[in-house]
Amino acid sequence: MSWNWTMADAQALLPLMVVSAAAVVVLLVLACCRRAGVAGILPAGETPATRIGAVLTVIALAAALALLPVAGAAAPRSVTFLVIVDGYGLFFAGLLLSACIAVALLGHSYFRQETSAGGEFYVLLLLAAAGAMTLVFSRHFASFFLGLEILSVSLYALAAYNRASLAGLEAGVKYLVLAASSASFLLLGMAFVYAKTGTMDLGRLAQLLNAAPQPALVTVGLLLIMVGVGFKLALVPFHLWTADVYQGAPAAVTAFIATVSKGAMFALLMRYLVGVNFTLQYPLLAVLTAVAVGSMFVGNLLALRQENVKRLLAYSSIAQLGYLLVTLLAAGPGGRELAIRAAGGFLAAYFIATLGAFGVVSLLSSPQREAESFDDYRGLAWRHPVLAGVLAAMLLSLAGIPLTVGFIGKFYVLAAGVNANLAALVAAMVINSGIGLYYYLRLAIALFTPSRAEPPPRVAIHPAGAAVLAVLTVLLVAVGVYPQPLLRLLAAVVAL
C-alpha cells in the first residue's frame, strides 16, 4: 500500500491542496479576528471576521483556479489509486471553482448587515468546494464516498445557516436526514458491487459493465448507488427534499446546492457511465431513462403553478437535470466525445443561469427576510431595472431561448440525443421545453407588470454581488452569441 510522492503528484493535486489548506487557514484567522477585531482598519457596519473570511476565501479559490493549468501540465495523472487528475476533471474543477467564487461573493453580499454571522460560512464553503473537487477527481469508491461526505456535511451546516429562521432549521434537518439515509443506500450498493466484482476501482467497474451483462447482485448494487447519486442530483423519485431545502437555505447557499453540489456529482457519474454500452446493462438503461423522463415532467409540472420563486427555481433545476441525463444515455460506445461536450456545454450554461437567477434572489434578500414570493418580484423592473433585466435574461437562458448560453447547452443536448436515436427522450425534452417556457416567462412577465400590493422594502445592492451578476450576464450573452471559445475548450477537454 505504500507509495512514493513525486513532484508531479504534488503538482497535479495543487489546486485541491490550496482549497483544503485555505479552509484551515480561514478557520484559524476567524478564531483570532473574532475577538480582537481589526476595527479602525475595516469599515464600520461589517463584521471584520466576515470581511477577512470573504477576502481570503475568494483569494484561495481564485488561486486554485489559476493553478489548474499548472496541474494540467502534469495531467493526466493518477495520484495513488484514489484520485485521477485529467483534462475532464480539470474542466469541471474549473467550473466548480468559478461557481464557488460567485457563491462566496453572493454570500458576502447576503450577510452584509448580519453582525452575528461569523465567517464560518466561508470555512464551510471552502470545505464543500474541496469535497466537490474530490468527487470530480475520484476514481475509487473510497474517494467517491469521502468527497460526497465532505460536501454533504458542509452543506448540512450551510443549509441551516440562518439559525434564527424556522425554515432554515427545517432545511438543515431535512437535508441531514435524507442525505444520511441516501448515503447509506449508496454504501450498501458499493458493498454489493464489491462483493460480486471484487473491485472498488470505478474505471475497472466501467470496463466490466462494458464487457458483459452483469449478475443481478451487481445490477442491484448499481441501482442502490444510483439512489445516492439521484438524491444529490435531485432526480425524480429522490427529489422530495429539493423545494423545502432550496426555500429554507440562504439564497447564496441554495445557488451552491443547485450548481456545485449537483455539478460535481454529475461530473463523477458522467466520467464512468459515459460510453458504457447500455444495451448490455438493460436494467440500468431502463431506470436511467425513467428517471430522466420523470425528472423532466415532474419538475416542470410542479413548477407551473408555483408562487414561490425559490421553489420555482428548485423545480426548474430538477427538470434541467433531467435534460442533462439525456447526454449520459446518448453516449453509447461511439458517442462518448459528443456526449461529454454536450454535458459540459449544458452544465456551463446551467451554472451561469442558475447562479444568476439565485444571485438576483440573494441580492434582494437578507438574513432577516428572503425575497421569495412572486409579490417581491412584481414590478421589479421599476424598482431595480437592472436586476429585473438580469433575472429576465437568466430565465430566458434557462428556458433555452436563442442568443443566450442556455440555447447552446440545450441545442447540444438535443444534438447528442438525436445523434443516438433516442426518439422518446428527445420528444420528452421538446415537450418539456414547451412546458418550461410557461413558468419561466410567467416569472419574467411578473417582473414587468406593475405591482398592486405594497412594494417590499427597498434593499441596497452590494457591489460584490452586483459584480458577480454583471460577469454572469456578460458571459450569458457573450457565450450565447459567440460560443466558439467554449466549444474549443470542450473539444480540448475531451481530447486530453
Binding site: 505504500s2 452575528s116 462483493a195
Partner: protein, 146 residues
Amino acid sequence: MPLIATMPLWPLVAYFGVVVVMVAGILALSWVLGQRRRDRQTGQPYESGMVSTGSARGPLSAEFYLIAMFFVIFDLEAVFLFAYAIAYDRLGWAGYVEMLIFVGVLAAALGYLWKVGALDWGTSRYGKGRLPTSAAGGGDSTRGKS
C-alpha cells in the same frame, strides 16, 4: 467473490424466520398473559412511587451537550491514530507526513473552539448567555469584549 458464491443462504433465512417468530411470540405472549386495565393512574409515568410534578420541558444547560459532542468528535478522530499505528511500518514517511497534517488539522480545530470560547465552562469571562451561540457560528456576544 467466492465467499458469497459458496456460502449457503438457508442459515440466514432460518435466522430471519427465528427472529420473526420470537418477536411475534414475545408480543403475543405479553398480550395474552398481560393484564389490561384502564385506571386513573395507568397512563402516568412511573417515578419510583412519587407523583410526578411539573413539565419535563424545562431549560437545561447546553454546555454538557456541547462538551459531550466535542468529546465524541475528538475521540472518534483518535481512532484513526490507532489505525495508523497498525500500518506504521508500511506507510513510511509519506504516512507520517499525512498523519502530521491530520493531527495539525485537529489541533487547528481545537484552537478554533478554544478561541471562540466553546470550551469555557460555567460563569463566563465574556458575560452571560454566551453559549452555545458562540460555538455554533454566532459569536455575537463574545465580540462584546475588547
